[in-house]
Each structure stands twice: as structure tokens, then as C-alpha cells.
């Protein structure tokens, strides 16, 4: 019986969000809460000679001022390389240098301006290439001296390399020699910002017995607990992290940063409640943003247009500190070929320090960046081979008999069906009607196609959990550690539970905020793994619940448990289905008409730990980083003025193999939203820096996002190749609408203007510059 799966069930948080009742971290009362503000570095790289806080301290209402001298701890999820406040040196413009705690925001802000800092500028490195060049200054003096939190982080002594991952499958160098067609390209893509509409913020309070309360706009409440516990030697149970609604995350709120500062701020004022407020401008410079990427790719095909081999070097611009970037380098390495059959692969993926704002996960964990590079060279290779770009991809699509770059054998369940996606995309985009058409003088319509795939890179032992309790009306409450940041995972989990219990989804109430003491640990709300990880835990909790209902039923009906059925919110014996008990009368235990109590209250719980994942072999890269893949094809059509290099994006299509469409409208809108984010990023967004590493556009007025009226027509379609071990066969999908959009737009524009060297962002100016270089 289908009650919920496959239906466009309305968001569980819908009415809270349209009535103003949905509360975000900064919406909680501020009465009696002190305010903290940050002073950040104006230099990209400089030694701190002196910090004078005397004038600032004299401001009435200032409670405390903190600088890097006050702490020795270092932070980070993988490599402990980042101080909470700069210690002796600033490594990026925007790095927190001092923190003021005051009675009111206006006082804190005034005091921040009165802190005097003397800097001595140091040489600035702004690209991975610069950082890797001979004699480059070391951004971190001894990168090998930092504590590693996981064993697969490989900093290289005496360099700016924080980690490196190596993939070697077959013999790429030999195979390339035999290729008929070769494409060799270099790429340099700039960093950009997540720009979630809610500016990051955190609050902290420490009770006199040492209980730490943190409320934060974070995707990773359990990581906040773990990192604060680890850094300050506080037992994890003494730290309670709560996360209400968060106003968009996109990976940017998976890093732990402001929580540490808020904790230190509270500690400095005797544990009083403190809220740390940063401005939008600081949010764009101080907390982590999206990586930049350099790539050198050589790829070759035989005379029949079959890709034979690829050699790649990726250099991730992780900025001044690593955060999660080494794992993004690993993620790129593990998926480096894209969803294609390639027998010979050689790939080095390096995580390199620069003096940019440090980077963290951004929707799709660096896949959007390497996919841009890879799908550009695939397009160029198709052209060299004389193949239609869609047909070329179809021919080379990963299939049974292929292995991934990390030598995981292809199965449909594990990876999905790219050819089905491509066939559907061909049809829906009217691909065969022509990929470039002149519509009037100097104006052309052009299409571009790109494919993507993605697996995940969680720790191999990541966990999730769920608990389910009954209300007296027979409805249930579902509690997980999943953060609600827009991706609607909670509604999908409710659907999974409703389906399993055989009750309508309205009867499942979800707890939308997370409290680390009340909800079972869920690794992080990242990597689109909510439905897979928490979904599995929910199914187990449901099984547990059903078993207990059966047990109560067998006692009430006096028959063996095996005779008891549970469905439609009722418990009955298969021998006499007419006599049933509704959930509301049996879920809290049963009271017989004579008052006898029978059974026990029903409380469901389920947990799951990822299984079967491994770290990559350092020599060959062999291993499995994530539970499964999701793949798809995307087509973008533009109308371009070939004289002015301006263009309008007309339409964009995604066909994605999601395994199972459990909520058509929710999933369509999530994918369309990803496409929109990718379109905005690809067409206009970049963090631009001057030669001294100072951000040039750190406000929303100068860093332009796409607004209404600029959006193309978005179309989303799904292919369903079930992932066998996932709830109802569903694959991860929430980030993926973004991945190949920059590449598809780049391919469309390359096609429109006849230019090979297109780069991000795809602004008319950048396209014009490329055209000048390529002039015959």
C-alpha cells in the first residue's frame, strides 16, 4: 500500500515559514544577551606587530576584548591548523583578529573600530600555482607539525601543500600515446561565496557548573559539540548544541567557526549569554567560502571516438586554512573522470594553501569545479573526433564492465544509468533540432550539454539515528539530528516513516530543530545523505516500533506474535481482522475494559553506521569513498549576441537518475534551485581580490546574484534506477542540480561564440577576453 512515497506531499515546515513563526538563531530574544563583534584583518598576509585595545576597552559597556594571544588552541575538522583568532600572523583578509563583547551591538561595534593593530605586510599568494612555485613563502611554517584528525590527510613538509591524493588506474601515459585524438587544456577557476540568505551567527552561554549551551546556524551541530569538546577538553555531554531553522547552508554552514568564537566570548565574561553577530560583509570574507581550482587535463580518444585515457592534475585553492578541503581534493580524485568509461587514469589532486579566505564544502563538494574542467575537455574531444557532443557522451558513458577511478566496479544500483538520462535529455531538449542556429544578424541560439556524477566522502564510520514516539491520537513524532535548512529532508523522512507504518503522512510530526541532547546523532546535514542515512535509521526505528506493536497485540489478542498484523494504523490478528485496535488505543500500552493493563508503551529507535567504505590506497587510489553515485545530464540553451558577447540564458534542463522519486514536486524544486544556484555562480559570481589579497567586492551590492527576471525556463526530469540499499531505492539528489550547470553553460557559450578557452565566471567581459586571445 502506498500512502506517501511518490506523492507531492507539502513541506512539513510550510506554514511556519509563511507566517513568520519559523525561528532562526537570531530570532530568539536578545534581552539580557551580550553582543560580540569581530575585528577582521584588512591584509591578505601580514605579521601582527602590536594590538592596542586600550581605547576600545575604555568604551562604556564593553565587557571584554579577546585577541589571539589569549588562546593556544588550533581548530579544524581534519587538520588542526586554524586559530580562533589570528596568532601573530594573518593569512587572509577577513581573518578574525579580535573579538569585543559588550552590552549592546552598537557599543561592540564602536569598540571594534577603536582597536589599533599594527601589521607588517608579507608576500601574498593568490593562486595554487603561485603557492607551489619555487621559493614561494610558506603560508604555514610547518604544515607537518599540525595534528591530523584522520589518517588520510597528507601535508607535505616545507611546501604549501596540505594534502594530496593520487589515482593510478591502468597506464595513462602509454594509452595516450596510442590515441588518435588528444585534447590538452588548463583551467583556473576563481573562488566564490555560498551567500546563504541568513548571515552566519552563533550564541553561547556557560552555566556555573560548566554546562555549555550553544545555539547556532549550523549544518553540523554534532561536529560543533565534538570540536569544542576536543579543543577545550570539555566532556562532550557537557555541551548542548541546538540548531533551530537555518536560512540556507549550501555547505557553508558545515564548518565550525563562529561557535568557537561565541564560546570563547561567553567564557571571557563569566559564562554570560553572548550572541556573535557578523555583518554580511564579514560573512563574505571571514567564514569559509567556495574553493578555487586549477586543472591541467590531457585526454585522448581512439579513431572510433572512444575515450582511452586521461591524465589530470587538480590544484584546489583551499585558502588560508584547510577546513574540509583535503577531502574535497580526495572527492575530486575519486570522481575525476566524470561518468565515463576510462580504463587508464592518472590523477593527482592537491589541496594547496593560498591567502584567500579559507574554503569549505559548497553544494556538491567541489564537483561543480572539476566537472566544469572535465566537461569542457570532453566537449572539445568530441569536436576533435567529429562526434556530436551528446552522442559522444552516450558512446563513452560508464556501463557494466567499467570501473570508477578508484576501481569500484560498475553496477546499475551503485551508479545509475547515464545512457537513459542522455536519451531523455536528447528528447526533452530537442537536441536534434540543432545545437547552434542563427536567428537574426549577429544573434545565435546555441545549446550546450554536460554530464555529472557524484559519490560522497563522509568519514567511513559516519552515523545517524531516529526515534519515534506516539501521541495519544495515534500520530507519531519523529526525531532525528537532521538540520532543516531548506532541503526538505525532514518531510522526506516523514514520508519514509508514514509509508513503512502504513499511516498518512499528516500523522507523522517531525521535530524540525535539533538538540544534540535530545536527538540521536546524525553526522552532519551535508552530502545530500539525509534520505540515505537518516532514512535507513527511520526504517529501523519503524521496524522496532512495529515489533513492539505486534508484541502488545499478541498479548491483547492472546495469540502468537506471528499472527499479528499492523496496517492502516490498526493492530489485529490475521485470524480475525474484523476485530482490530487502533494505534491510539494500543501504542501507549492497552487498557482492557476491566482496567487490566496489557503490554508496554511503544518507543521506536533506529541507528545506522555507514558500512563498506574505505580510505583510498595512497599508491593507486583504490577504495570506496561513498555509499553510491548519482548521475545525470544537463542541457543549457542561450541566445547570444556574437558582436557584444552578451547573452541571455533561455532554458536549462536536468535529467537525473534519482533512483526513486519519493516526492515529485519537492525534488523537482530542489533540483531547479540547484540549477539556479549554478547558473548564478557560473554566469556572474567570483570572489575577486586585488594584488594584495584584499577582496574587491565583499558586499551584496557589488557581488551580484541572479534575481527574478533573469532566470531561464528550468525543466527537471527524473530517471529511476533504484539504489538497492537505500530507502525505497532513492539516491542522494539535493545538491546535484548544480553540478554540471556551469559546464553546460560554458559549452553552450563556447558553441555560440566559437571560443575554446571559456572560464568562470562566464561574463561577457571574460568571453571577450578569451576571444581576443583566440583571434586568428
Amino acid at each position: 500500500m502506498v500512502t506517501s512515497i511518490g506523492k507531492s506531499i507539502q513541506r512539513k515546515d510550510a506554514w511556519e515559514k509563511v507566517t513568520g513563526f519559523a525561528q532562526y538563531t537570531d530570532d530568539f530574544p536578545t534581552t539580557g544577551v551580550l553582543c560580540a563583534r569581530l575585528l577582521t584583518s584588512p591584509y591578505g598576509h601580514a605579521r601582527i606587530l602590536k594590538i592596542d585595545t586600550a581605547k576600545a576597552s575604555a568604551v562604556k559597556g564593553v565587557k571584554s576584548i579577546l585577541t589571539g594571544d589569549d588562546f593556544k588552541e588550533l581548530h579544524g575538522p581534519l587538520l588542526l591548523d586554524r586559530p580562533a583568532l589570528a596568532q601573530n600572523v594573518v593569512r587572509y583578509a577577513g581573518e578574525p583578529v579580535a573579538l569585543v563583547v559588550a552590552q549592546e551591538e552598537s557599543v561592540a561595534e564602536r569598540a571594534v573600530r577603536l582597536i589599533e593593530v599594527e601589521y607588517e605586510p608579507l608576500p601574498v599568494l593568490l593562486t595554487p600555482s603561485e603557492s607551489l612555485s619555487q621559493g614561494a613563502v610558506l603560508i604555514h611554517e610547518k604544515v607537518t607539525g599540525y595534528k591530523r584528525m584522520l589518517t588520510d590527510i597528507y601535508p607535505e613538509e616545507g611546501t604549501n601543500i596540505a594534502s594530496r591524493y593520487h589515482i593510478q588506474k591502468g597506464n595513462a601515459a602509454e594509452a595516450l600515446k596510442k590515441c588518435e585524438y588528444i585534447v590538452q587544456k588548463q583551467f583556473s577557476l576563481p573562488p566564490s561565496d555560498h551567500l546563504a540568505m541568513e548571515v552566519r551567527t552563533a550564541r553561547a552561554e556557560i552555566s556555573s557548573d560548566g554546562q555549555v549551551q550553544i545555539m547556532t546556524s549550523s549544518q553540523s551541530p554534532y561536529a560543533v559539540r565534538q570540536q569544542i569538546s576536543g579543543a577545550f577538553m570539555i566532556p562532550a555531554g557537557q555541551i548542548q548544541v541546538t540548531v533551530p531553522f537555518i536560512g540556507g547552508g549550501f555547505g557553508g554552514k558545515s564548518a565550525v567557526m563562529l561557535e568557537i568564537l561565541a564560546f570563547l566570548a561567553s567564557k571571557s565574561v563569566g559564562g554570560k549569554a553572548v550572541r556573535l553577530i557578523i555583518t554580511r560583509e564579514q560573512d563574505m570574507a571571514a567564514p569559509p567560502s567556495r574553493i578555487g581550482l586549477e586543472a591541467d587535463i590531457t585526454i585522448g580518444a581512439d579513431k572510433d571516438g572512444k575515450i582511452q585515457a586521461a591524465q589530470m592534475i587538480f590544484r584546489l585553492d583551499c585558502g588560508a586554512y584547510t577546513d574540509i578541503s583535503p577531502y574535497m581534493a580526495k572527492a575530486i580524485a575519486a570522481d575525476c573522470t566524470g561518468p565515463y568509461h576510462m580504463e587508464h587514469v592518472l590523477c593527482d589532486s592537491l589541496c594547496v594553501y593560498t591567502n584567500h579566505t579559507y574554503a569549505t564544502a559548497y553544494r556538491s563538494f567541489a564537483h561543480e569545479s572539476y566537472t566544469f574542467c572535465m566537461e569542457r575537455v570532453i566537449d572539445l574531444l568530441a569536436k576533435r573526433c567529429g562526434w556530436d557532443p551528446l552522442e559522444f557522451r552516450y558512446r563513452n558513458a560508464i556501463h557494466a564492465g567499467s570501473t570508477t577511478p578508484t576501481q569500484v566496479p560498475y553496477t546499475e544500483s551503485l551508479i545509475g544509468d547515464l545512457r537513459k538520462c542522455l536519451s531523455r535529455a536528447r528528447q526533452l531538449s530537442l537536441w536534434d533540432a540543432g545545437s547552434r542556429t542563427a536567428i537574426k544578424q549577429n544573434t545565435v541560439k546555441a545549446k550546450g550539454i554536460a554530464c555529472f556524477w557524484k559519490t560522497e566522502n563522509p568519514p567511513t564510520d559516519a552515523i545517524s539515528g531516529a526515534t519515534v514516539t506516539f501521541n495519544t491520537d495515534g500520530s507519531v513524532n519523529l526525531v532525528t539530528g537532521v538540520v532543516e535548512m531548506g532541503s526538505n529532508g525532514q518531510t522526506h523522512l516523514a514520508q519514509i516513516l508514514a509509508e513503512k507504518l502504513g499511516i498518512p503522512c499528516e500523522k507523522v510530526h517531525v521535530v524540525l530543530s535539533v538538540d544534540t541532547r535530545a536527538a540521536p546523532e546524525h553526522w552532519k546535514t551535508v552530502a545530500s545523505l539525509t534520505e540515505y542515512m537518516a532514512g535507513k535509521a527511520v526504517l529501523r526505528a519503524a521496524d522496532d516500533l512495529l515489533q513492539q506493536l505486534r508484541s502488545n497485540g499478541s498479548q491483547v489478542f492472546g495469540c502468537p506474535i506471528s499472527d499479528i498484523e499492523v496496517s492502516h494504523g490498526r493492530v489485529y490478528s490475521i485470524r480475525n481482522p474484523e476485530r482490530f485496535i487502533e494505534f491510539k488505543d494500543i501504542a501507549q500500552g492497552y487498557q482492557a475494559p476491566d482496567g487490566t493493563s496489557i503490554g508496554e508503551p511503544v518507543l521506536g529507535r533506529g541507528g545506522m553506521m555507514l558500512k563498506g567504505l574505505s580510505m583510498l590506497d595512497p599508491q593507486t587510489g583504490k577504495g570506496k569513498t561513498g555509499p553510491a553515485w548519482t548521475l545525470g545530464a544537463q542541457v543549457v540553451e542561450v541566445e547570444a549576441d556574437i558582436t557584444t558577447f552578451s547573452y541571455r540564458i533561455l532554458s536549462a534542463l536536468t535529467v537525473m537518475d534519482v533512483g526513486k522519486v519519493i516526492n515529485p514536486e519537492s525534488m523537482r524544486s530542489m533540483v531547479a534551485g540547484g540549477m539556479a544556484m549554478g547558473m548564478s555562480m557560473a554566469s556572474r559570481e567570483a570572489a575577486s581580490y586585488d594584488s594584495q589579497g584584499v577582496p574587491q567586492a565583499p558586499t551584496l551590492r557589488t557581488y551580484k546574484l541572479m534575481h527574478i527576471g533573469q532566470e531561464p525556463d528550468y525543466q527537471v526530469d527524473f530517471v529511476e534506477t533504484p539504489q538497492d540499499d537505500s530507502p525505497y531505492g532513492m539516491r542522494s539528489y539535493a545538491e546535484h542540480g548544480l553540478i554540471a550547470i556551469p559546464a553546460a553553460l560554458g559549452n553552450a557559450l563556447s558553441n555560440a561564440f566559437g571560443i575554446e578557452e571559456v572560464t568562470l565566471p562566464l561574463t561577457p567581459e571574460n568571453i571577450w577576453k578569451a576571444s581576443q586571445k583566440e583571434k586568428p
Binding site: 536560512g247 524544486s669 544556484m677 534575481h707 527574478i708
Partner: protein
């Protein structure tokens, strides 16, 4: 406002009620609504007039409450999302069109759309809708959903008229 420094009591008419609040001359309407009246539907996304998340309705027109001083709002009728009461056409339309994800920009969009309908009781051209909505940013949706919500809002109005 006699004192230029320190705080002064002013009266604000918000969602049909009159409130006395203590403000500095430099206090922005957004902060006063949120911190003194507990009306947190209006959000601070940039405090620079660039994102529209703080949009409220002032005398029937949309206004960015981060660009308006609280003292400027005296003698004006201010409506926030809390004042829509949960039954407004625009709220139903946004739910039906799935026109939000994280919900942070939603209050601003609701108020600009509600004001649009106040000023244009009959659905205007698409270009007018775009002009009204283009100073509000949404990072989650594709904007298609928000556009659809505007259409549904006008559809429901028509249906009610019949």
C-alpha cells in the same frame, strides 16, 4: 524627538496596534521591530538594502526596514508577515507553489507580493511583477516557483471575486 542623543519614546503603528518604543535616532525600523516588538519575520540579510529579506509594508508600499529609521516610521501604518494573519492570499499561494525552501527570504517576498496586490489589484504585466520583485533575493528556489506563487495569488483573488 527633542533629544538627539540617547533614547526617546516614539509610537509605531504595527499590524493595527499602536506600540510605544524607546529608540535612538539612528535605530533602524528592522531592529526595533525584531528586538523590541518581537516581530522577527522581517530578517536581516545584509542591512544594506541589497537583499530585501527585511521588507515590510509601509502605508501600502513595500519598504526595506533596514533602510528606514524607526523615527521615520511614525504616523505610518506598518504591516509585517505576522500581521497577515495566516490567511492572506499570498501566504496560501506561496505554500501551494512551493515558493520557498529555507524560508529566510520568504517574509520579504511575501510582503513585496502583498504590497504588489495592494497597489495592483488586477494582475499586472509580467515585467511589472519582475520590477517589483527584483530587489528581493532568493538563494534556494529557481524563482520560477515564486513567479508561480504570484500568479496563484492573483488567481485566488479572481476566484474570490466570482
Amino acid at each position: 524627538m527633542i533629544e538627539l542623543e540617547g533614547k526617546t519614546v516614539i509610537s509605531l503603528n504595527v499590524n493595527g496596534d499602536s506600540h510605544e518604543v524607546m529608540v535612538r535616532p539612528s535605530d533602524i525600523l528592522l531592529d526595533v521591530l525584531r528586538e523590541q516588538l518581537g516581530l522577527t519575520s522581517a530578517k536581516a540579510g545584509c542591512k544594506n538594502g541589497d537583499c530585501g529579506a527585511c521588507t515590510v509594508m509601509v502605508d501600502g508600499w513595500p519598504a526595506k526596514s533596514c533602510l528606514m529609521l524607526a523615527v521615520e516610521a511614525q504616523d505610518k501604518k506598518i504591516i509585517t508577515v505576522e500581521g497577515l494573519g495566516g490567511k492572506a492570499a499570498v501566504q496560501k499561494a506561496f505554500v501551494e507553489a512551493n515558493a520557498f525552501q529555507c524560508g529566510y527570504c520568504t517574509s520579504g517576498f511575501l510582503m513585496v507580493c502583498h504590497a504588489l496586490m495592494t497597489q495592483h489589484p488586477v494582475m499586472p504585466d509580467e515585467i511589472v511583477i519582475e520590477e517589483w520583485l527584483q530587489s528581493n533575493l532568493c538563494r534556494c528556489t529557481s524563482y520560477q516557483e515564486i513567479r508561480k506563487a504570484v500568479h496563484l495569488m492573483y488567481d485566488s483573488l479572481q476566484a474570490a471575486d466570482v
